[in-house]
């Protein structure tokens, strides 16, 4: 994918990432403190810290996370992984789907602290280090499965997670597997064709 370069020479994507990085530096100092305690008597078992380590796309990332922060917010606005989209922010559309320990989950409805001990995989973590696309991504490219594609990262992550446990699905089974994702362009038929193509490419290896 290429970024649209705006006047001034900075693409929108690069600009957002720069802002995100600057914010992380400015806010990460001084939050090693425990969160507020209710009552007296020291730190109760189970109290959480704000500066935590997340395993994202195979890398450990230190990040300052508020207790009420959702994983979608942390990924997009703290770690700059803007491939994960926020659609409804209510577990009703699937655009924010990521994998936690290989299982598709709505990142808008997971507290980041809930993901602390899990492997987080986002759309940015699917391609190989040399840039080779994941078979499901390749299927999407070959079949041109999406119109506006806002929902695409969520669909691709849901499909990748589903195919890990159901490598050889029928079209109906695949549709059921990605039924937790909505497409407002109503492009479902082409999306299924693209994802089925991805499944086929995965089976070929």
């Amino acid at each position: 994918m290429t970024d649209v370069v705006r006047p001034g020479g900075v693409s929108r994507r690069t600009f957002i990432k720069g802002v995100v990085a600057a914010g992380a530096v400015a806010t990460s100092a001084g939050y090693l403190l425990r969160t507020t305690l209710i009552g007296q008597g020291g730190v109760p078992a189970g109290a959480v810290e704000r500066l935590i380590t997340l395993n994202v796309n195979g890398r450990d990332r230190r990040v300052d996370v508020m207790p009420q922060e959702t994983l979608a917010m942390t990924l997009r606005y703290k770690l700059g992984l803007t491939g994960t989209k926020i659609g409804c922010d209510r577990a009703e559309c699937g655009a924010c789907t990521v994998l936690l320990d290989d299982v598709p989950r709505y990142s808008c409805s997971v507290l980041t602290h809930m993901a602390r001990k899990k492997r987080i995989t986002t759309i940015e973590g699917l391609a190989a280090a040399d840039g080779t696309l994941h078979p499901v991504q390749q299927g999407v490219v070959e079949e041109q499965g999406f119109q506006c594609a806002f929902c695409m990262p969520g669909f691709v992550m849901a499909a990748v997670g589903f195919l890990k446990t159901h490598p050889n699905p029928t079209r109906d089974e695949l549709a059921h597997g990605v039924s937790g994702n909505l497409c407002r362009c109503q492009d479902y038929d082409k999306i299924l064709t693209a994802l089925a193509r991805g499944a086929e490419l995965m089976r070929r290896g």
């Binding site: 109760p44 189970g46 209510r90």
Partner: protein
């Protein structure tokens, strides 16, 4: 309601790693604690600012709460076992397929991977007037916005309404009632066991809550006795879309049939009242009867006796009547 805010208002988060630590926290925080399992009910309230909390006790790290084990021929399912795990567990599928089927029909795949059995039965009412923050009876006010001449109340109750007309939105709750399950509730230094149908609270008893859980208490497990293992089960959920949606009506039944006659049955219906409704009159009426279309239709008519409809939910009466009849005739006869 659907506006996107900046995450949620601040709360203190606790992530205990044992039931004992969780109970100590709940005891210490009392009514100020918000217990969170999958979080899918909680996040709506907190993001919309219709309910607030100063402290959340999140149970995802309590490994002992998500264990399924066999007990006396039955099963004990930890309260934070996910709906996917319940739906796919080999023993649940083999002996208590009713529950596996109900769990597999909840919401969407992603929600089933995260939502828990305990959360599915403990979730709050989904009446949109209540969820949107209107000051209704259930929210402590003195009016029901869903039961006014211009209200939109297609999803609301036809049975046992008392001022509030919200319904129980759970799919697994009727299945657990039909399986004669009991729920294990612990508090610091104590435990009580509650029959599934007694876990739920209707508005006539307490209009501001859905379950008997008190502050400081934690639902730790669901026990299913061997009584109905391998019985003939029927579960059906009717909803607008085949994914995400809560039931318009659902039905769960367990039958023991011998020589074409119904020996015994347990049956419960969801989304028609504020609690799952066990149809004891139907259970008594069909015991010993031949399993025929006539018996099924008699049971259906009996099931909806006393139903009171609102402006837009009249369809629920024939829907419930037919689902009860189908539950008695079984999957083989369901389409005729």
């Amino acid at each position: 309601m659907a506006a996107i805010h900046d995450v949620m208002p601040m709360f203190t988060l606790y992530q205990p790693e044992s039931v004992d630590d969780a109970l100590r926290l709940l005891d210490r925080l009392g009514a100020g604690a918000w217990t969170m399992a999958g979080g899918l009910d909680s996040f709506d309230w907190l993001k919309d600012r219709t309910k607030r909390t100063a402290a959340v006790v999140e149970l995802g790290n309590v490994a002992e709460l998500s264990v399924i084990r066999e007990v006396d021929g039955g099963l004990e399912i930890g309260a934070t076992t996910t709906l996917t795990e319940v739906a796919q567990h080999p023993i649940v599928r083999e002996r208590f397929g009713l529950l596996a089927e109900a769990a597999g029909l909840v919401a969407s795949p992603q929600i089933r991977h995260q939502g828990t059995l305990g959360g599915n039965v403990t979730q709050d009412a989904r009446c949109w007037y209540y969820r949107a923050g209107w000051p209704c009876y259930r929210a402590g006010g003195n009016i029901c916005y869903a039961d006014t001449p211009t209200a939109i109340n297609r999803e609301h109750a036809i049975l046992h309404a008392d001022r509030c007309v919200a319904v129980s939105p759970s799919d697994t709750a009727p299945a657990l009632v039909a399986l004669d399950a009991s729920l294990v509730i612990r508090r610091l230094g104590g435990e009580r066991i509650v029959a599934a149908q007694d876990y739920f609270v209707g508005p006539g008893r307490d209009i501001t809550r859905m379950t008997v859980l008190e502050p400081g208490e934690l639902l730790t497990a669901i026990r299913i006795p061997a009584t109905w293992a391998g019985a003939e089960f029927y579960f059906e959920k009717v909803r607008d879309r085949q994914v995400w949606d809560f039931p318009l009506v659902n039905v769960a039944s367990a039958l023991k049939v011998s020589g074409g006659r119904i020996q015994s049955m347990r049956i419960a219906v969801g989304a028609v009242a504020a609690t799952p409704v066990r149809l004891m009159a139907v259970e008594r009426a069909v015991a010993g009867q031949p399993r025929t279309r006539e018996t099924a239709e008699m049971a259906g008519r009996l099931a909806v006796e006393g139903a009171v409809t609102l402006a837009h939910n009249g369809y629920k009466v024939p829907l419930m009547r037919n689902l009860v009849a189908r539950a008695i005739r079984g999957a083989g006869a369901a389409t005729t």
